[in-house]
């Protein structure tokens, strides 16, 4: 259906469309997870897929995250291309052995003979009043693990293109979706496209400061950039899109251009994604930076339930705006 007219999809729809297209294209692609079939997940992201592809390919599992992730690893090694659904990113704790000691290492340990083309889709993000065990953004763990790729889409367009690329990838890929973003709309062309893993995207060009932002933080960065604009500061917003492979080049070039950088990610700030990106930039743009690279991530506390407390644990447009202004010497 070649249709050039601009089309808007929600983030959830974009994910679903990517899955449907890949499942039509390749009969080896199947989905497994808790309440993924008729229920279409609690977030309703997968609604309709079981109707089209049947229960053989959209598989409701028991609440056995380790078990069905392990099953997916073996299935991926032997001819299928499973997409595993881990409802909340907090539950990846249960899959670490399967993902890290198995999926990530099979190819290497076997001297390149076995492959594990699987995708784990899961969620991140707080401010949903879901408390400490349903609000974490733990993707930094997987970024640390050789053999895995980690995708952090921030728009419906990126989500669709990156998910299709992830499904076609020959390696285990972990795909984190911000659960607060599912209803957000954005343009998604009807034509087929994929986005290669490992390419950053400049979401907004600017000259005074670089805001590197991932996933849920991209919208925050763009909002802050608007505020900064009004304050006469031109912010560039760069979205790495994949935390691994990491497009260091684009990040460093932007930093060299603007000479000031804030790195934002919704995972915990300490020992998290912002640390890697900040230190890559601090080293790569060392001679061009006018100020220390500033990091903004989740506060180092288990996510509290109470709304006024939860709200201060993550960066907001306002806090980013203020930090950026201060970094530019205009506070």
């Amino acid at each position: 259906m070649p249709d050039a007219a601009p089309r808007e999809l929600t983030f959830a729809q974009a994910i679903r469309e990517a899955l449907a297209e890949e499942m039509r294209r390749d009969s080896r692609v199947c989905i497994m997870g808790e309440d993924v079939a008729e229920a279409g997940t609690p977030f309703k992201v997968l609604s309709g897929l079981v109707e089209e592809f049947g229960k053989e390919r959209v598989l409701d599992t028991p609440i056995s995250e380790a078990g069905f992730t392990g099953l997916a690893v073996g299935a991926a090694m032997t001819g299928l291309r499973p997409v595993v659904d881990i409802m909340f990113g907090d539950f990846i704790t249960l899959t670490m052995d399967q993902m890290v000691n198995q999926a990530a290492k099979v190819h290497y340990m076997s001297g390149g003979t076995w492959k594990v083309p699987m995708v784990m889709r899961t969620t991140l993000g707080a401010t949903r009043r879901s408390a400490a065990q349903h609000s974490q953004s733990l993707h930094a763990w997987f970024c640390h693990v050789p053999g895995l790729k980690v995708v952090l889409p921030s728009t419906p367009y990126d989500a669709k293109g990156l998910l299709k690329a992830a499904i076609r990838d020959e390696n285990p890929v972990v795909f984190f979706e911000d659960k607060m973003m599912y209803k957000q709309k954005g343009p998604v062309p009807a034509e087929e496209y994929t986005i290669p893993l490992g390419l950053a995207d400049v979401k907004r060009a600017g000259s005074d400061i670089t805001l590197v932002a991932t996933s849920s933080m991209v919208q925050v960065a763009l909002g802050a950039a608007d505020l900064l604009d009004q304050a006469g500061i031109s912010a560039e917003v760069v979205d790495p899109r994949t935390a691994w492979p990491l497009d260091e080049h684009t990040l460093i070039e932007s930093a060299k251009k603007t000479s000031r950088v804030i790195v934002m990610d919704e995972g915990y700030e300490r020992y998290g994604v912002t640390a890697e990106i900040a230190s890559v930039i601090a080293a790569g743009a060392f001679y061009d930076l006018d100020a220390p690279v500033k990091r903004m991530g989740a506060m180092h506390v288990p996510i509290p339930f109470s709304p006024p407390l939860e709200d201060v644990t993550v960066p907001t447009e306002q806090t980013v705006f203020e930090a950026a202004r201060a970094l530019c010497g205009r506070s």
Binding site: E34, D35, A37, E38, A39, P42, D60, T61, P62, I63, S64, A66, G67, D90, F91, L94, R128, R129, S130, A131, A132, Q133, H134, M299, H300, V301, P302, P304, F305, S306, P307, P308, L309, V312, T313
Partner: protein
């Protein structure tokens, strides 16, 4: 919740008192949950909550057989366990609203209420997340020789988690005083348990050396009788047990789960509500046995309703924690 002797099998006054207490407790849970639903519907509660309505006899029957110093662990569907173990509704509502007066200073919310004063080690939003904790509490009890017992409540969905079998094996090996209470309400979130559970549930315990029984979870007397027996046996050092309680949740998986026809029928719901309601049936029995009359029970309902309304008011009027508290309690 009750005193050392558990004379509920006799026709004594103490037994009668115990029956009435259980009835009251079940009604309290139901009316508590009605308020929760109300708070959600009126958009006064942040987030979601998982109601225990329909399953009251399980928490109450089991907790009536526990001492105040005994331990429980609970789940995402935890209000019932929490109340049955002795928590007060006002601080619970405050917690559900994220207020400072809540059991967790607002930091936990519906899925994390914990209360050392009543031996409540905490609700848990990870399915099967507290099986280790309950087993560990039993381990402490054994090693410290304090005669306590730990009860681990969980839904049948937790049967999918391998750690349950790991800790049952440990409990059997060390003969720990822990009771695994499986609340089989037929569904996990939106999937019937038969689609996710192969084999035989009771055998899943006995295979690990944990003796297992099942009981009608809608019959508080039956639950209490078998729970009391297992608990006292565990307390005597005879090791762990598994109790399968067959029950049903009347409402959605959570307060927002309104359209349920794609996973279960309205007739099924109706059947449980009309034929198998634990409160109604137990009330009828109390009247039949001349342990209460209808008017007394009605008055009780009204009283409790008022109590719940007051508790909600308290919670609504309570302040949120100050923002500076966000960084407190990360480390002890």
């Amino acid at each position: 919740m009750t005193t050392a002797a558990n004379p509920t099998h006799t026709g004594s006054a103490a037994a009668a008192e115990s029956w009435i207490r259980m009835y009251r407790q079940m009604v309290a849970i139901r009316l508590f949950e009605e308020q929760v639903n109300e708070l959600y519907t009126r958009a006064l509660m942040p987030g979601l909550a998982h109601l225990y309505v329909g399953e009251e006899a399980v928490a109450v029957g089991v907790c009536e057989a526990l001492q105040p110093t005994d331990y429980i662990t609970s789940t995402h569907r935890g209000h019932g366990h929490c109340l049955a173990k002795g928590a007060s509704p006002d601080r619970m509502f405050a917690e559900l609203l994220g207020k400072e007066a809540g059991y967790c200073r607002g930091k936990g919310g519906s899925m994390h209420i914990a209360d050392p004063a009543t031996g409540n080690l905490g609700a848990n939003a990870i399915v099967c997340g507290s099986a280790g904790i309950a087993t560990g509490a039993a381990f402490s009890a054994q090693r410290l020789g304090n005669q306590r017992v730990a009860v681990c409540f969980f839904g049948e969905g937790a049967l999918g988690q391998g750690v349950l079998y790991e800790v049952m094996n440990l409990a059997a090996l060390y003969k720990l005083p822990v009771i695994y209470v499986c609340e089989n309400n037929l569904y996990t979130e939106y999937t019937h348990y038969t689609e996710t559970t192969a084999g035989d549930i009771l055998q899943r315990a006995t295979a690990f050396g944990v003796r297992a029984e099942s009981v009608d979870g809608q019959d508080v007397r039956a639950v209490h009788a078998v729970a009391a027996r297992l608990i006292e046996s565990a307390r005597r050092g005879e090791g762990p047990a598994f109790l399968l309680c067959n029950t049903y949740r009347y409402t959605g998986h959570h307060v927002g789960d309104i359209s349920r026809e794609y996973y279960r029928t309205k007739q099924e719901e109706l059947l449980w509500k009309t034929e198998r309601d634990p409160i109604k049936n137990f009330g009828a029995w109390l009247i039949e046995q001349n342990l209460a009359d209808a008017a007394v029970l009605e008055r009780m309902h009204a009283e409790i309703k008022l109590e719940m309304e007051k508790a909600v008011e308290f919670a609504l009027a309570s302040p949120y924690p100050g923002v500076e508290q966000v960084g407190e309690d990360v480390y002890a």
